[in-house]
Each structure stands twice: as structure tokens, then as C-alpha cells.
Amino acid sequence: MLGGLARRVELVEKIRSKGNPHLVVDSGDLFFERKGAADPQKVLAKAEILAKAYKKMGVAAVNVGDLDLLAGVDFLQRKAGEGLPLISANLAEASTGELLFKAYRVVEAGSFKIGFVGLMGPELDPQVRKAAGEKVSLLDPWEAAKKTLEELRGKVDFVVVLSDMGMARDQRLAKEVEGIQFILGGHDGRFVSSAEQQGGSWLLQSYSKGMYVGSLRLRLEEPGRPIWDEGRASRLEQELAKLDGRIDAHRKAQERGPNPSVERSLKQLEEQRIRLKQELEESRKKRDRGNRFSWRLEPLDPSLPEDREVTRWIQEAGIQAD
């Protein structure tokens, strides 16, 4: 068993108590699932507890995902009114075209400013559309991103898109819109153990059902310069070790007797090794200086302690299982 809201809150409290600067964000589809519990009151009670817990964690931004509309937009607007920092750059009031939530949120860490931008996909499926009602309409997310980034130009040092569009649309976003450093995605809930680079953006997701917390550690010291993945060098080291094992096996096969096919294959592997070694040297140079990041999916396993207050909220609501 992995996950649990009370464990997640306790993990954040632990990081906070150590004094490490951190921000908590969510990319959407936080509150509801497509096949919710039969009891609508329980579904809403769970959503209320989630909103309260994320506020307790001091969440910096929560993107509105399509499934978050399953209880209607009024629920979300009420939560925004109560101080939950919900954002969406492309969810609009159908009659006026005005955005229903703030498009972005700027968070400051000293003189350093991060802009979080919220996006959801370009259409709603029939179940969500029915729940959301005709009050809402969706703007083209790619155009909305361009417009929002234009608004943010000069106001922030760093842009993170919280996306509920899915990996394929996030890849398109990274290709079409410049100036996004990270796309923290969701919707398809993938387990992304290492960041994918598209253009100047890095793409990540943190699986689903709150089983993991994605931990993106940024170390920045060169304004305007690219950001490198610190973990790349260690992954290349592992690849090189595997390749060396294959080369050894080929050499042993050759010693047993000449074989043109083995010889060809060995030559290809040795050429591959030279390329890999060069890439590794480059990555090692970038690993220890300049702008860099590391990414880790922290599993919320049962050995982790739980936040007592959140546990009490759940018990008081009479909820014993999802």
C-alpha cells in the first residue's frame, strides 16, 4: 500500500521543520475520480478534507483539472474564495469569456520569482461536461499559454506550467511555447522516473492516487542559462556499466573462436561506448555547477508517520476507506 493524505502532509511538515525552502503544488484532478463513491455526501466530504489538508501544507498553486469539475464549478470557486490558490489559464465563463480563476500565481523566494501557470486540455468529455454545466468553456490551451507567458514576461525568473493535459499535449506545449522551464503534468498519471526534455522545457509527472510525491530540487545560479538534469550523469554511468558487461561477453565469445557476426556487433558496441563516454564526461561537468535540478518520486509507504490532525479530520467525517 502506498499513499495516504495524512502521510503526505506529515512528509511536508518534516521538510518544513528542517527549514528547507520548498513549495507544494498540484497539477489537477485533485478532488474527484470518474467513478466516485456511490454516496455523493462522502465524495464531497473527502474533497473538503483534501482542500483543508492542501491549505495546511501551504500549497502554492493548484491547477484545475477536468475531473475537478465533477461537482460543478461552484464547489471550486467556493474553495478559491476560502483561500485555496486554484489557477487555470484556459477555463472560462461561457457567456463572457472571462477566466473563472486566476491564470497564474507568482511565488517569491527572496528576489527570485516563480510563475505557476495552470492549463487543462482543450475539451471536456461528456460526463465532465454534464457535471460542469454550460457555464464553463475551454480556451485553446496553447494560445492561453502564449498569452499568459506574455503577461508574465519580465515579472518572473522562472515559469512552471501545472498541466492537466496529458504527456502528448505537454510535449506539444513545450515545442510550441518558449519560455517554460518545467511542465509538471498529469491527467494520464504517469510514473516518470526521469525528466523528459522537449525544446527548452523539462516534462515530469508524479503517477496517481497520491501514492508518490514528486520532489523537484532546483539549484540555480545563472540567470538565463539552461537547466541541467543532475541525475543524467548517474543514469549514463549505469548505462555504461551495462554496456561494458555486453562488451565483455562479446570478447569472451570471440576468444572461443572467430565469428564475423560477433566481431561486427562488438565493433558497434565499442563505438557506442565512445559516444556514451563523451556524453558522460559532458554531463559530469554540468552536474556540479550552473543551473541544475534533481527529480525523485518519493513513495508514501506505510512506514512513514501520519499527520494526527488530518487523521482526526478523516475519522470525524466517518470515512474509513476510499
Partner: protein, 62 residues
Amino acid sequence: MKRFSGLGERISWFSQPFLLLVAVGLGFLSPLWGDSAWAGQPIEITILHTNNVTGHLFGCPT
């Protein structure tokens, strides 16, 4: 006076493409970082991220 003026014109004429290249280069590298008050003091910050929690309060089987 005229000599200085002519030199100024030459510098201006030569520098325009150079300045344009610098501006384009900076814009390409840092479309948003240009007007920053942050001057590169080392900063370390961790972003903790979740997605697709979908109302789950309890753990799930792996």
C-alpha cells in the same frame, strides 16, 4: 567636431547588427529572465508535486 561626428556614425552603423545579434541571443536564451531582480545569487528550492490524486485519502495497493 565633424571628425568625431563621423566616427560616431561609423560606430553606430557597425554596432547596430552586433547589438541586434546580442538582443536576439539573449531573448532566445532567456525570454523571461531579462528584467529579473534576481542577479544569480545561488538559490536552492524544492517543488513538491502531486497530480491525479482523484479524491484518495488512503493508500492504494501497489
